[in-house]
Every structure is written in structure tokens, then in C-alpha cells.
């Protein structure tokens, strides 16, 4: 009695190690992403000077006169992202404040899941919606609008990321201790003062983390821009004309049959690397901010 059972012990240890392996898979995935991106990008930068890649204002890998300047694609990405954030941040934040400070519990229970559905709609559906509903609608007010444009793609993308901004910000505001609010109410403050002067500033780092994550999501969003924003890399901030984002280019080149080993093929990976660096940096900042926020209140 009370003697160690070796078989049971061994089984327990085996299970733990097996589960550890599952967890290590995520480390492996990250490593594989970095390896795949870099190994092909290295080949690309043997052909194209890094300075040209960063400063050339033309991106024409599929033409006879090839240029490999990332700026037009970056510009397209920046443009659609700005428009999307312009929609998602104000709408998301106001919703969050409303839901966290004003709405009744019942209202919140009904509205939150409904808003989440906005994020669950497949992006290809949003692409269709942007191309065939929003653009024709906008054309009635903006006669010069092209069939493919950054504006409607960006607007629809903004709608898609509203729930991301609103639910993460609401979580942050929810985490602000009741005591802070009660203190202000006890001094005779109105809801609006409490919301904007107490809760909002207290939750600011959490809210910032949400906004940064939204930016990262917008930069990485693919199908909406691939369908509705066009395939013309242009170094412009005009939202009314066709442009191309980094992600849309990746889709465009994947659609053709680009032979492995060519420079065109390698552009997929260079664009992927650029995209990865951008989103990774934003995600890390957002993660750090969120941790700091949690350390304060939890």
C-alpha cells in the first residue's frame, strides 16, 4: 500500500509530454512562417536592390518593364486601412461607451452577440457587398467614382472590424473598477462626465490596444480589397480610383500560374514578409499594452 505505481506514473507523464507537444506546435508554426517567408525573400533580394524595393514608386512585376517598388502597394494598404479605421474606431468606441455605460443589461445581452455577427460574415461576402451594393450606391453621390475603388472597400472593411473595436474596448471599460465610477457619481456627476472623464481615460491603454489590433486586422484583410478595390498598384491617396493593396497583390499573383523559382513567384513571399512585419509589430505593441492594462486592474 501507498507504493508508487510505475505504470500510472508513466502514463501520466506521457500524457503531459504529449500535450506539451501540442503547445509547441504553435512555436513551430511561427518558426515555419518566418522560415518560409525569409528563404524565398532572400532569393528576391539577390535580384532586386533593397533600396529600390523601398523607394521605387512603381510596382510592375508582371510587365516587361519590371519595377519592384513596394510603395504603391503600401500606399494602397495605408489608404484602405485609414478609411476602415475612420469608420470602425468612432463607431466602435461610441458603441462600446454606450453598451458599457448607458445600455441596460438586457440591451447589452441582445446587442453584443448581434454585433459579433458582423465579424463572423465571411470576407468574400463583404467583398461582394462592397463591389455590388456600396459602390453603386456611392456612385449616386460621387459621380467620379470608379467601379473598383479604395473607398467602398475601406468602408465595408470598417464595418467588419466594428465588433473588434467595440467588444475589446467594452471589455477594457468594464474592467475599470466600479469604485471609480461611484466616486464620481457621489460627487453629482452625470453619466456623460463619468463616461468620458473617468472611465474612458482609465481604460485608455486597453482601448488603444483594441484600436491597434483593428489596424493590424485592416492591414491584413484580403478578400474585400481583392474583390472591390482593384488591381492597379498606384502611388496615390485618392480613394475614388482603383488601387491595389499588398494582400490583393498576393491574391492576384496566386490566381495566375506563376512558376516556382521565378522573380514573380518570389514577390508573393516578399509581400508576405512586408505584411508579416507590419502586422507583427502592431500585434506585439497591442499585446504589451493589453498586458499593462490588465496588470493595473486585474
Amino acid at each position: 500500500m501507498l507504493k508508487r505505481n510505475r505504470i500510472v506514473k508513466f502514463k501520466e507523464m506521457l500524457i503531459e509530454k504529449l500535450l506539451l507537444c501540442c503547445s509547441l506546435l504553435s512555436v513551430f508554426t511561427t518558426a515555419a512562417i518566418i522560415y518560409v517567408l525569409l528563404s524565398e525573400s532572400v532569393g528576391f533580394f539577390k535580384e532586386v536592390r533593397i533600396i529600390d524595393f523601398l523607394t521605387d514608386t512603381q510596382w510592375t512585376p508582371l510587365f516587361t518593364n519590371k519595377h519592384f517598388g513596394i510603395l504603391p502597394l503600401l500606399c494602397g494598404t495605408l489608404l484602405t486601412t485609414l478609411i476602415a479605421i475612420g469608420v470602425a474606431v468612432p463607431v466602435g468606441l461610441i458603441s462600446a461607451i454606450y453598451l458599457s455605460e448607458y445600455a441596460t443589461v438586457k440591451m447589452r445581452h441582445i446587442t453584443k452577440p448581434l454585433l459579433e455577427i458582423l465579424a463572423a460574415v465571411p470576407t468574400v461576402v463583404y467583398g461582394y457587398f462592397a463591389l455590388l451594393f456600396v459602390t453603386p450606391l456611392l456612385k449616386k453621390f460621387i459621380p467620379g467614382l470608379s467601379g473598383f475603388n479604395a473607398l467602398s472597400a475601406g468602408l465595408v472593411m470598417g464595418i467588419m472590424i466594428i465588433p473588434l473595436v467595440s467588444s475589446l474596448s467594452e471589455d477594457a471599460m468594464h474592467a475599470v473598477p466600479m469604485g471609480l465610477r461611484e466616486g464620481a457619481y457621489a460627487l453629482g456627476s452625470h453619466k456623460i462626465q463619468v463616461a468620458f472623464k473617468i472611465v474612458f481615460p482609465a481604460a485608455l491603454s486597453g482601448i488603444t490596444a483594441a484600436v491597434i489590433l483593428a489596424v493590424s486586422r485592416a492591414i491584413g484583410e484580403t478578400m474585400i480589397v481583392a474583390i472591390a478595390a482593384g488591381q492597379q498598384p498606384k502611388f496615390t491617396l485618392n480613394p475614388l480610383v482603383p488601387i491595389e493593396t499588398i494582400t490583393a497583390y498576393i491574391v492576384q499573383i496566386s490566381l495566375g500560374d506563376t512558376p516556382h523559382g521565378t522573380l514573380e513567384y518570389q514577390t508573393i513571399f516578399v509581400c508576405g514578409t512586408t505584411l508579416f512585419i507590419l502586422t507583427f509589430a502592431l500585434n506585439v505593441i497591442s499585446f504589451k499594452l493589453k498586458r499593462r492594462f490588465q496588470e493595473i486592474y486585474e
Binding site: 501520466e12 506539451l20 504553435s26 512562417i33 455577427i117 463572423a120 465571411p122 484583410e221 500585434n283
Partner: protein
């Protein structure tokens, strides 16, 4: 007007604005649903589900697309659920706080934010070039499994964290080992919430397009992956085959994208009809998840 009165006025103004803005998103959602249904409902018919894509819009269907979606989802689920739940269990129940755990956690948080198209590029380099899986169901399933893995891990962890530690203690006090405690008490207690997470993750995978396009899945597929089970009149009567996992495929969102990018009006109608099918699946899954979450809230 006094300051207090102004504040009071502002309060009610914001209340109205807040409500309007919150409802704005829902309004757009409604517009989207109405638009799609108006565009596509007349194409929904039995034939639409039983026909292959075609050059003639009025004869085109989604047979290969929905069967492919089924295959891909099966593969994704088989890979992602055990790996994701296993990883979640490890991190929540076993892992001690140390550098390795910290590193894994940051890793998962970052992976959750990597754009889906990057997973496609990973698949292109790893599964297509290196492992020569071609544009197969297996390659597609692997990519989507890696894509939704972080979501499943994070929701599993949350679900397990919500299981009160008193249940673990009770189990240990009866002489259960750690794995017995997890297997018989903690997992069943957290099951509802884990399932919610899995459904949401799978509903996301169903709608993913970009990563599958990246591995070149946008080719015309006028056939289905090989049946996993076939019957014959003679012995052994039932034949099992894994060949289907290695066959090429298309999925619903890719078929929709294909139709959206055609200039002919007829194909846009097909796209809208495809969207109706896809949205029905996604919304049903999300509805189920919301229902489950609601049901699970009322415990402890």
C-alpha cells in the same frame, strides 16, 4: 443655460447618438442580407446544389464547392480540435509559469493576429513546395487547422479557467490523478464553452478564402474528392479509402469569389446564391454558439 442643465442635455443627446451608432452596424448587416437575398434567391434550387460549375451561368451549381467545403471542414476539425484542445489543456492545467510557457503564450497571441493570407503563403512554401501535397484537401485542411488553432487554444483555456478549482480539489482528494481529474471532471465541466469556441472557429474556417487561393485552389474542379466509403456487391462489400484527402478541391467561398470576378451578370446571381448558402451555414453556426454560451452562463 446652467452647466448642470447642459450636462443633462448632453447626457440624453449622447444616449440617443450611442443607440443610433450601435444600431448602425446592425442596419448595414440587414442591408447586406437583404441585398444578397434579393440578388440570389431565384437561383436557389435543387439543381444549384447538384450541378458542377459551368460556363453557362444558369446551369452552374455548387456541388463540388459544398462537397469540398465538407471535406475541408472534416480535415480541419480532425487536425485542429485535438491539437488545439490538447494545447489549451497543457497551458491551463499543466504548465508552470516559466520562460517557455511565457514564450508559447506570446507566440499564440501573435499567431491569432497573423493575417490569414500569410497562412496561405506558409502552406504554399511548406505543404506544397516542401511536402508535395499539391492542392489537396489535406493541404487545405492543414492550413485552415493552423489558422484556427490559436482561437481554439485560447477559448479552451478560458473554458478551463472558468471551471472552479474546488472541483479539481474534490477530485484529487478522492485519489484521482491529474489526468483523471482533467479527463473526468474538468473537461466535461468546461465542455460547453470549449464546444462554443470550436463552433466559432470552424465557422471562421468555413468562410476563409484567401489562404486557399494562395495555394492555387482556384482552379476549375468538375469532380469530387474520392469517396471515403464505397460499397460493392461482392466481398468485402465495404471499401475504405483515404484517397479523397489527396484529391484537389474547391470550396464555397472560392466558388463565390470565382463568380464575383466574372463580368457576366448571370454569374453575379450565382455568386449571390452561393453567398446565401454560405451565410446560412455561418449564421446557423454562430447562432448555435451564442445559444450554447447563453446556456452555459447559468452554472456555478
Amino acid at each position: 443655460m446652467s452647466k448642470r442643465k447642459l450636462d443633462k442635455r448632453m447626457d440624453s443627446v449622447f444616449k440617443a447618438v450611442g443607440l443610433a451608432v450601435t444600431l448602425f452596424g446592425l442596419l448595414v448587416l440587414a442591408a447586406l442580407l437583404i441585398d444578397v437575398v434579393m440578388d440570389g434567391y431565384q437561383r436557389i434550387s435543387w439543381d444549384f446544389f447538384t450541378s458542377y460549375p459551368s460556363r453557362k451561368p444558369e446551369q452552374a451549381g455548387i456541388l463540388s464547392a459544398w462537397v469540398g467545403t465538407l471535406w475541408i471542414m472534416l480535415t480541419t476539425a480532425l487536425l485542429a480540435i485535438p491539437l488545439g484542445v490538447g494545447s489549451g489543456i497543457y497551458l491551463e492545467e499543466y504548465a508552470r509559469r516559466n520562460k517557455l510557457t511565457d514564450f508559447i503564450e506570446i507566440n499564440i497571441a501573435n499567431l491569432a493576429g497573423v493575417p490569414s493570407v500569410i497562412y496561405g503563403i506558409l502552406g504554399l512554401g511548406l505543404f506544397i513546395r516542401l511536402m508535395h501535397l499539391d492542392r489537396s484537401v489535406l493541404a487545405g485542411g492543414l492550413i485552415l487547422a493552423l489558422l484556427i488553432l490559436p482561437v481554439i487554444i485560447l477559448t479552451t483555456r478560458e473554458a478551463l479557467r472558468a471551471v472552479p478549482s474546488s472541483i479539481r480539489e474534490a477530485s484529487y482528494a478522492l485519489g484521482a490523478t491529474q489526468w483523471q481529474t482533467i479527463r473526468h471532471q474538468v473537461l466535461p465541466a468546461g465542455f460547453g464553452n470549449i464546444l462554443t469556441g470550436i463552433i466559432l472557429a470552424m465557422s471562421r474556417a468555413i468562410g476563409e478564402t484567401a489562404p486557399l487561393i494562395t495555394i492555387g485552389a482556384l482552379t476549375y474542379i468538375p469532380f469530387l474528392p474520392a469517396n471515403p466509403v464505397a460499397f460493392s456487391p461482392e466481398s468485402p462489400y465495404i471499401h475504405l479509402s483515404a484517397q479523397g484527402f489527396l484529391d484537389p478541391f474547391t470550396v464555397l467561398p472560392i466558388q463565390i469569389f470565382n463568380w464575383v470576378s466574372r463580368p457576366q451578370k448571370g454569374f453575379l446571381t450565382d455568386a449571390a446564391a452561393g453567398i446565401i448558402v454560405l451565410l446560412t451555414i455561418t449564421l446557423l453556426m454562430n447562432g448555435a454558439a451564442i445559444f450554447l454560451r447563453y446556456k452555459n452562463q447559468k452554472r456555478w
